[in-house]
Symmetry: C2
Subunit: 698 residues, 2 copies
């Protein structure tokens, strides 16, 4: 099931090849010829030759079984050509034609479905349709009609993978300006057969690729993406993505021009975080992160020592790093003392460090200061602000210090006077903008230190009750019982009518508990002894039941029974819910409930599975976590128990299968430490049963 024939073909036929190098059928032939690719077979019934090569009237005439057939023909002709190519044993195809699902019209959607179905049936690896094609710089193979990618560009170890042809060209140009070179360029198009994650999985094991920069509009298969991302993470390869559609209007625009399911933006966030993907929020971040990954060995994180010839620049960088998730840790006193001894006057040495004008005077001053600052263990990298002539003047010292340290020296020159490639050759990292540098360092450092969330679900410990077809929800009691079977602690209550029933129910509910007479006729129950608190065991409960019934009978009122409820004191109410995202599947949401969730959006999301440690991290990441942590003298809440209950909820949902639509525990009452957490209410929504066709028609 390899994509090698598609991405690294040794021989290529171009059906619809054109003599005109500027046409869609001509460009790949022209590029391949100029790249020195030998086995090109133009197919065109009307020409003897194409761009100087012998042309073949039909694919069957091509004298070898090629690895890849490029279809530069209109959508109407695609399927027939694919079938004929498949009959010849050709394993891969690329379809440039538009007119498929991207039209949002019935005919186009049907055409794309036919393509998908043929790919499944045949096993052929089909790229597109509606794609611009690929460029393999490692092997110098150009299977694209895009003019941006030309033979002779230096190959690098970054792959570019995009869902938009235009953004493919845009990011490529941005990245070139940022000093990034590429192994592969892939534009996925409509992904009727080979999809984004298939390419990603291929790149994860491509030895020429150390980083992938991705432009994503919509993923079609979340779990497949997660699996491919995990391979990247495990191999220490950078996977960085720009995902369009973070705002409602952006999402609507992206959805309307692709033919994919619109997943929840929160689910994408959760997925990227959990899979260790470095997400950037501006296109330029893609190339900046790939560029930094070229210095991967020297950048362990984003704790920066900032050295600057200008106090202003130091302060600006400190701000920008803080806002980007990086930091400027205060240097240890010994390091500050050593810097103080170097720098004349009373300059700032805590971090940022003000080098003052002295940089222009002394020979070893700058390299000494760099070495001293980098000696601090808490420091990952050094940021040096030396604009224009300061950089030129101090260059030899910077070069020396960069060579002497295993931590990166990152130079910032806002005058844009230097060239990244030249500095890179000397092991020096370079930016010309404060904010771009800070954003890139912050995001890269976060990625470098990120782990992978748990990805394996716990083995199911119970089964769900049979879920009748006609139901669209469970009752509260049914829901709680179902979750309880999976280890979610739930509040149970019961109406009992006899001392035996009372004892039995009480043992099930647990102690201490509260007993109340149920009667419409009694107003002040407490005063009449018809509410009894703090019942500690079965004897207590039976005694209370009997005396309450006796009292009630003596009052001659209508008696409906006695309710038993656990006696819950104190505690903080939270909510935990699981919804199904169309792309990523089950997503767990945790928050404080009520106004916190509704007005402040103070919630955390993760994709299932989530273990207890993960659930606890979610709780601790809430802004309102302090409410659980002994806020204003309240006892600390049992966060460990709450996390366990939330993980059990997740496991229960994973075991529940297709009939589940949404499961929510609200509130989950988190009692004081050591006292546990209990689901007070549970909502279990079921999918609508599939209706039979006659019903539909009726």
């Amino acid at each position: 099931m390899t994509l090698t024939p598609l991405l690294s073909p040794r021989s290529i036929a171009v059906i619809g090849a054109s003599d005109n190098a500027r046409r869609i059928g001509g460009m790949p032939v022209d590029l391949l010829i100029r790249a020195g690719f030998e086995k090109i077979y133009p197919v065109n019934p009307k020409n003897e030759t194409i761009q100087g090569l012998k042309a073949y009237r039909k694919i069957e005439d091509v004298p070898e079984r090629v690895d890849l057939v490029i279809l530069a023909v209109s959508a109407d002709m695609v399927l027939e050509q694919l079938e004929r190519s498949h009959a010849l044993g050709i394993p891969a195809a690329m379809v440039f034609a538009a007119g498929y699902a991207e039209t949002n019209e019935e005919l186009g959607i049907a055409k794309q479905a036919a393509l998908t179905s043929f790919a499944t049936r045949s096993g052929m690896k089909i790229a597109g349709p509606n794609c611009m094609g690929n460029a393999n710089f490692t092997d110098q193979i150009f299977t694209t009609f895009g003019p941006s990618f030309q033979p002779g560009e230096p190959a690098g170890n970054t792959a570019l993978l995009t869902q938009s042809g235009n953004m493919c060209a845009t990011v490529f140009r941005m990245a070139k300006r940022a000093g990034v070179t590429f192994s592969q360029i892939i534009n996925t198009g409509n992904e009727a057969a080979v999809d984004f994650s298939d390419y990603l999985e291929h790149l994860a094991s491509d030895p020429a690729t150390q980083a992938a920069v991705c432009y994503i509009e919509q993923l079609r298969d979340g779990p497949k993406f997660m699996a491919a991302a995990a391979k990247f993470r495990a191999a220490g390869k950078l996977l960085t993505v720009f995902k369009v559609g973070v705002s409602e209007k952006g999402a609507a625009a992206a959805a309307s021009h692709t033919a994919a399911l619109a997943g929840d933006s929160a689910a994408y966030d959760a997925a990227f975080t959990q899979a260790g993907v470095a997400r950037v929020n501006e296109l330029s971040g893609l190339s900046d992160l790939a560029y930094l990954h070229g210095f991967a060995d020297k950048i362990g994180g984003s704790n920066c020592a900032v050295l600057s010839i200008s106090g202003a620049a130091g302060a600006i960088l400190a701000d920008a790093l803080q806002l980007s998730g990086g930091d400027t840790p205060t240097l240890p006193q010994s390091v500050q003392d050593a810097l103080d001894a170097q720098i004349p006057g009373h300059a700032m040495v805590s971090n940022p460090v003000d080098l003052t004008g002295n940089i222009v005077n002394s020979n070893e001053f700058l390299s000494d200061c760099i070495n001293i600052a980098l000696s601090a263990e808490a420091i990952d990298v050094l940021l040096l602000y030396t604009p224009g002539s300061f950089l030129t003047g101090a260059y030899e010292q910077i070069k020396k210090a960069a060579a002497a340290n295993h931590k990166a020296v990152i130079v910032i020159d806002t005058y844009s006077t230097a060239d990244r490639a030249e500095l890179a050759a000397d092991g020096i990292v370079y930016f010309d903008d404060f904010d771009r540098a800070a954003r890139a360092i912050g995001a890269y450092g976060k990625w470098k230190k990120s782990g992978m969330a748990a990805t394996t679900a716990a083995a199911a410990t119970a089964v769900w009750p049979a879920l009748p077809e006609a139901r669209v929800a469970l009752s509260e009691t049914e829901g709680k019982e179902a979750l309880a079977a999976f280890g979610v602690p739930v509040v149970r209550d019961a109406i009992v009518h006899t001392p035996e029933e009372a004892g039995e129910a009480a043992n099930l509910i647990g102690y201490p508990l509260v007993a109340k007479l149920v009667s419409p006729d009694v107003a002040h129950k407490t005063e009449h002894g018809l509410i009894r608190l703090s019942l500690k065991d079965e004897d207590d409960v039976v005694d209370a039941f009997e005396s309450m019934m006796a009292k009630a009978r003596s009052m001659d009122v209508h008696i409906e029974g006695v309710t038993l409820e656990p006696m819950l004191q104190g505690g903080v109410e939270i909510l935990a819910g699981v919804t199904r995202d169309p792309v990523f599947g089950w997503m767990l949401t945790v928050g404080m409930g009520g106004v916190w969730t509704e007005l402040m959006k103070d919630v955390q999301h993760r994709l299932l599975p989530v273990d207890a440690a993960g659930a606890e991290e979610m709780l601790r990441s809430l802004k309102s976590f302090k409410l659980l942590d002994g806020y204003r003298g309240a006892p600390k809440a049992d966060v460990v128990a709450a996390a366990k209950a939330i993980a059990a909820l997740g496991d229960a949902v994973l075991a529940g299968g297709e009939r589940l639509r949404e499961v929510e525990v609200n509130p989950l009452l988190v009692l004081p430490e050591g006292k546990g957490a209990v689901a007070v209410d549970a909502l279990v929504l079921l999918t609508e049963p599939a209706r039979a066709p006659e019903e539909e028609a009726a």
Copy 2:
């Protein structure tokens, strides 16, 4: 008191002038000569000539009373030279020397104080010390030792005003790349005499200046800045600032290298918003906003119609605009229909508009689409994504449409193939980056639509009680009474002992009210009729008082009296407090109180004065405002009354004078609509009385 001699001198003496054009005393002479400035008088006791000009041994030898004397001498010599220049009647001076307050050492601080004191005494306009000087491109006058500013640069109508010499050069270079040209460049240095706001005020009335871009570390006088900013706003001139120190570490770094008070970051935010200042968060934003201001007449706001040759780019721009405070309003159906008639196929026309590949085919297609989209009233400007050859190919159409519309056509070309100046000549706005464009348009549109907050305090309607020296706080009752005098409704209560006292107190408190017997001996007061609710008038209260006393006497319990309290039902608790910022003075803070403020930081700040309309805007800007607005079926709270109470609090504080340190009403209970709002508690903190010197010593 004009700064004209300093910023537009007709004659200049340079004390410490050097023959070497690269030295601090040589550079201004060299620049002025090359700029063709005629009346330069180098002063140097050792040379006969300086750079070909006759040199004078001392300032007294200079044959005319110059407008400006530049002191290129060390700090030790500055004061004497200033005194001698002042004696000659020279009105302005510029001090390059360092070694003043920026050293954070006693000696330097004292030197600066002496300079300030001399300036005050003499009335001389003194720039610096520790400044890099200025460049006046309008009049081609260079009074700087910075090599970045050279004669012959084209003059423009933007002024650059910075508190850091290095950032002055950096922003200037960035702005040049962004196509901005300048009227004046001013580096303020330590601001011992002429400060940031003095320059700003001068620029507000400088006819050559239409916009000011500012780099700010710390302001010394907030109210003066606000007044200068108001002049900019009134003149329709853009004032845009980058303020360093938004993070704690950045603020610490900025404070430690300047010699100014560290104001609260929230106070700066409030000040900039209220004064109609366009704040940017990246240095590049300064030049982008100045650039956009060059098209001020054509940019009424940031509601964009986005036209794009790529669905992806449209979605990216929609995202970026949303995140930057701009918008892509859905186009009216008639406009959509008109676009739909132009664009083949079923393209997206709601906004963003997908132009599809048709842009390359038809002659009038693009200009027609631009005209149609701009015809929508809700649209302020048009954003067009046409990278590289698409821009070249469609240029004539774009130019035609730009000329035909009074709304701006903003082109985005991520391939960076065009030149801003060339496009500007054709009336076309140009960016090469999605996010920079969106940030700039969002911020500029916000500025364009921003108003000015109220700046005049209401006349004081009352006076504060005498505040004894020894007190550091008022009691709750004193505080509430003081605020009540200014019209803040407060909750009053009283313990009464006779029917007469009860009636009198009740009339003061207001109705309905609650009466409670105060006795340590009675447990169930309600049951014994010792709590009486909903008392509607004096008769009710007197009756209740008498019957409660009678009942209590019959029970033979110890009676302390009867408390009367207003009966407050429902309502939402908020807080309103006023603190004193060292730079900007009184700052009002409004929030929901409790966890909302503490954990969620859901507060709004404004500088006083704030009128009721402003206070209502603050409340409505809270994320938790919905709690006041009928949340989950609760009645709407009396927001109008709350706003009035908050405004009265602000007026009270303004009338309170220097002894007040902090005043907080917490909670302010906002009752259901029509029922008002009342201060339940009030905290009034006073400044520590100034101690006599002998106490200090003891």
